[in-house]
Amino acid sequence: MSLLELESVSKRLVHGGRGVIVLDNASLGLDAGELVAVWGMRGSGRTTLLRVAAGIDTPDSGSVRFDGRDLAEHGEQLLGREIGYCQKSFCSTQGQVAVDEVIVGLLVNGVPPAQARVRTREALQRVDGEHLGTRRLAELDSGERIRLSIARALSLKPRLLVIDEPVSGVDLLERDGILLLLRSVADEGIAVLMTVGDLTGLSGADRSLTIGDGDLSGSTRRELAPVLPLRPAAGLQASG
């Protein structure tokens, strides 16, 4: 059993007054320590796939299970704890500087202030973002914002990191730095599911998939992938 299991998931959304199928019988398995990237064009359903996988949205049919638990029932308890969802937008009510964004999540989850400060510093270090701590949110560029959002998610010690377009709008050199960061997160044993709008963002993934018209294509399960991961992920035996 995979850590994350999407089984025959379908989802319909209303666009311009008409129903559109954005996920059509999609299945996906993701193991601990795997980095899976999904490419799709705008409107392909890639963000919906992530929101369903993270338990933010529920599917119309099919099931999403995390470590055997149905997200329809347990999603609220898991999201923001075992499941980290990264996005580049920040809530200004949580503070004006970068460090506030990370520490608030910890305090809300009941982490004592002294410990929260330590974990915030560690999370920022983990993403090479120590220098971001006192920066105002409005001053951060795309790459810095995504590093901060990863730090925010990692501070809560997730087992699954779901991240929407981490390299969108990021310049070339910074793009590779972020892909390497996500690769290293997976190598530590955290499952990473990300979407990319630019096909060059698929590099370094253990598996790459495409999505379009609700169809998820590619090696949707690890055992279907003929290519061995670039590096054996933590806690996994390389398949033969």
């Binding site: 990237a37 490419w39 064009m41 050199l173 590779d176 730095g177 892909l179 390497l180 690769r183 630019d198 096909l199 060059t200 698929l202 590099s203 370094g204 993934a205 253990d206 598996r207 790459s208 998939l209 495409t210 379009g212 018209d213 294509s217 590619g218 090696s219 992938a225 003929p226 290519v227 991961p229 670039l230």
Partner: protein
């Protein structure tokens, strides 16, 4: 001159003039499994061909008794021909891709079969993206030419595979639409 080995060896001489044995070793380090020399003597034979064609020449003073290993450097014509051959490779790649696309579109009479092939093609391309290294993921000294070489190769591979995936994605959508249109026509004609 059609041999990829000869052209590759000429590239190495252009990169740094040297003698045959060192070139053979550098060839193996550079091209690994992409191109293979049958033996070290293959490099000697290839250098002989390049010299006959005036693409390389012996460096003066490297063949004497005190320095028995003749060193080779590229001639001006060698540089010019290498440049021309490299550009020709772009056209060759484009030609091969076009042949594949034409062969595939021969299957449009049977969209379901073409879809299946495209699915497999797209999957092969997707799997290939996973073998593309991210810049900075290998420990190579930044002032070493290999660092730039690795980054250029990786980026070219990313862009090339990306273009194929995008094309396969587009072709699948078109074939799906074609299949649906034909099915609708068949339904209309049936009593």
């Amino acid at each position: 001159m059609h041999s990829s080995i000869n052209w590759a060896l000429l590239g190495l001489v252009i990169e740094r003039p040297s003698y045959a044995y060192e070139l053979a070793q550098r060839f193996e380090r550079t091209y690994k499994d992409a191109l293979t020399l049958s033996s070290a003597s293959h490099a000697y034979a290839a250098l002989g061909t390049l010299k006959e064609r005036g693409l390389v020449e012996e460096l003066p003073g490297t063949k004497g008794s005190r320095q028995p290993k003749p060193h080779y450097r590229a001639t001006a014509m060698g540089l010019e021909e290498y440049h021309r051959w490299l550009i020709g490779q772009v056209a060759e790649e484009r030609r091969r891709q076009r042949v594949f696309q034409l062969q595939l579109t021969a299957l449009t009479r049977d969209p379901a079969q073409a879809m299946k092939i495209l699915e497999d093609y797209e999957r092969a391309c997707l799997d290939e993206t996973c073998t593309t290294l991210i810049a900075g993921s290998e420990e190579v000294p930044p002032d070493d030419g290999r660092d730039l070489q690795a980054r250029l190769i990786a980026e070219e591979k990313r862009l090339a595979v990306g273009a194929k995936i995008a094309w396969a994605h587009y072709a699948r959508r078109e074939l799906k639409a074609l299949g649906a249109a034909r099915a609708a026509r068949t339904d209309q004609t049936q009593p």
